[in-house]
Amino acid sequence: MKYVTSTGDESFEIEINGENDLLVNGQRMLIDFRSVVGQSVYSLIVNGKSYEALVQPTEEGLEVLLHGQLFQVSIEDERQRRLRQSTGSTTVRRGEFHLKAPMPGLIVTVHVREGQEVKTGDRMIVLESMKMQNEISSPTDGTVRTLRIKPGDNVDQNQVLLTLG
């Protein structure tokens, strides 16, 4: 199976030919790769080098925490790639995005109103939790479609606060 994997400005063609046999940008690599704590901690030995990282799924793809650096990694396989190229779209259509409460708490401030356009990083909501005022910013550009909370509300973890379209 062939993949095109990218993180930041870097992009790699990775072909997986069996459990431990890779071609990375055309170069063969034999790997010893396994989960070591039975969860999301993985150990990789390749060409004698030993690496350990936390690999976890996110809504965007996968994130890899390696030696104190966080990499947001997106992966496409051949089929997805062909599909994308044939339809000519350069970004995956996203549809609606539901902003959820990252933890339970009290809504202190709501900086946006329905219909308002927001950019990535714009302050949207202040949630008080763990003795702190926590600012929740927009993860994406878009328009506030539905606002489901108001100041003074107590919210549960993962409760949808608002929907971006």
């Binding site: 870097e10 969860q39 030696h67």
Partner: protein, 502 residues
């Protein structure tokens, strides 16, 4: 003399105090809220009593219940830890009135130092320099503040008189900004402390936050255990402390240490306390406030002085004389503490709650961990986000940094996000290594996206690991689900994988 102590706290500091008691052969009484029944402090104590629901005001702030439990369990003393009731003079007084020893300063000293304005007036009278501001003038009206502000000069800080932890605090860079910020500070202070009074303080730029640890016994002996460097902060929250300070020299240490002892003596201080100073680039220092309790960061001082501060607190409360004189205090090597918080350094340091599914501690030479959590423990949204304190010692500052680097790399906490990567980046920062940082460093001159020589190699490794994980998971899930086709949306596919792996 008491031989049983009630610990009116939770988390790592409750565990820390229980350990000190155990090592002195003293029995311990824990108290716990609804969500803390399985906390380490409950498990490690000899006795444990239920306090109330999770919110602090219903549990750890219920001084009346805590005193009742102390009486019922025949605890002869109460240790308040830090936070919660630790700096409430009225609570300390109620404890004493109930015939129980309060392991801390006298109620009068707590009250004097607890009101920031009174504290500044008191130490000024004792000849200790304070940051220019509206010291000791208390309860100023908005009009008065608008008049005084230009005399102090901008930038300045509006601070809550009853404040702490950055609440009710606002920076003001010119007179125009003052009215709205003043308003915001007052309402935040009113909400947080039930007291909307504020005062003004000059904002020192390029300043360091350096504090001195004080010990004072009931025979009138007051000594200091040298300084802690606490400038590494984010939004006025300390993240990393060290002792000694890379900024300090011997003569300044001696001078500031004496001033700190004088400040403590001014309120007839007893037990452990900390005098906080701001120090500017020229070595001019100003009293900031006194914390009349054990500090979070006390371990760095313990490690370089060899003293166990919590045991000293207990000895002092038992009426003993300090077992070290100022001359006995010699600093040996260097200690650094990283506060490991459940928060996401890649997402605005947003707190993270959830169950800690795995915790593998760094160990070995020169490493100390103070924590109240363990695998299976739930980080709740009710209390602060401190998971543990990782403290490393080295013969030199360089060795301490290198040791901290390897310890951070070893530390594995799964189930919640932590700020370990933040500390790793700090340890790699050339400015930090050179000791060149002040209280604005994290906010103004530090980024999590620093590029290093390893970046490119690591990008490739990260991509390989992610791809193999995704490949194996997709193969596994196609076997399980027996779908002939994979979903075309990456997002959905990951979603399915998440569901499968839950």
């Amino acid at each position: 003399m008491f031989d049983k102590v009630l610990i009116a706290n939770r988390g790592e500091i409750a565990v820390r105090i229980i350990r000190a008691c155990r090592e002195l052969g003293i029995e311990t009484v824990a108290v716990f809220s609804d969500v803390d029944r399985e906390s380490l402090h409950v498990r490690y104590a000899n006795e444990a009593y239920y306090l109330g629901p999770a919110p602090s005001r219903d549990s750890y702030l219920r001084g009346d219940k805590i005193i009742d439990i102390a009486l019922k369990s025949k605890a002869g003393a109460i240790h308040p830890g830090y936070g919660f009731l630790a700096e409430r003079g009225d609570f300390a007084q109620q404890v004493e009135d109930a015939g129980i020893v309060f392991i801390g300063p006298r109620p009068s000293a707590i009250t004097a130092m607890g009101d920031k304005a009174v504290a500044r007036a008191t130490v000024t009278a004792a000849g200790v320099p304070v940051v220019p501001g509206t010291e000791g003038e208390g309860n100023l009206s908005d009009e008065e503040i608008m008049q005084i502000a230009p005399k102090i000069g901008f930038p300045l800080l509006v601070k809550a008189t009853a404040g702490g932890g950055g609440k009710g605090m606002r920076e003001v860079s010119d007179i125009e900004e003052l009215p709205p910020r003043l308003n915001a500070a007052r309402s935040e202070a009113e909400a947080a402390f039930g007291d909307g009074n504020v005062y003004l303080e000059k904002l020192l730029t390029n300043a360091r936050h350096i504090e001195f640890q004080i010990l004072a016994d009931s025979q009138g002996n007051v000594i200091h255990l040298a300084e802690r460097e606490c400038s590494l902060q984010r939004r006025h929250q300390k993240l990393l402390e060290e002792s000694p300070s890379p900024f300090m020299n011997e003569s300044l240490r001696e001078e500031m240490g004496q001033v700190a002892c004088k400040a403590a003596s001014a309120v007839d201080y007893l037990n452990a306390g900390t005098i906080e100073f701001l120090v500017n680039e020229d070595g001019k220092y100003y009293f900031l406030e006194m914390n009349t309790r054990l500090q979070v960061e006390h371990p760095v001082t313990e490690i370089v002085t060899g003293l166990d501060i919590v045991k000293e607190q207990i000895r002092i409360a038992r009426g003993r004389k300090l077992h070290a004189t100022q001359e006995d205090i010699q600093l040996s090597g260097w200690a650094i503490e990283c506060r490991i918080n459940a928060e996401d350094p890649y997402n605005n340091f947003l707190p993270s709650t959830g169950k800690i599914t795995q915790s593998i501690l760094p160990t070995g030479p020169g490493v100390r961990v103070d924590t109240g959590v363990y695998p299976g423990f739930e980080i709740s949204p009710y209390y602060d986000s401190l998971i543990s304190k990782l403290i490393c010692w080295g013969e030199t500052r360089g060795e301490a940094i290198l040791r901290m680097r390897r310890a951070l790399e070893e530390y594995r906490i799964l189930g919640v996000k932590t700020n370990i990567p933040f500390h790793q980046n700090i340890m790699d920062s050339h400015r930090f290594m050179a000791g060149q940082y002040d209280t604005r460093f994290v906010e103004e001159r530090f980024s999590m996206d620093q590029t290093s020589g390893k970046q490119k190699e690591h990008a490739e490794i990260a991509s390989i690991m992610a791809t193999v994980v995704a490949h194996r998971e997709s193969q596994r899930s196609s076997q399980i689900v027996r779908k002939s086709e994979r979903d075309t949306s990456n997002w959905k596919w990951i979603g399915r994988w998440e569901r499968i792996n839950r």
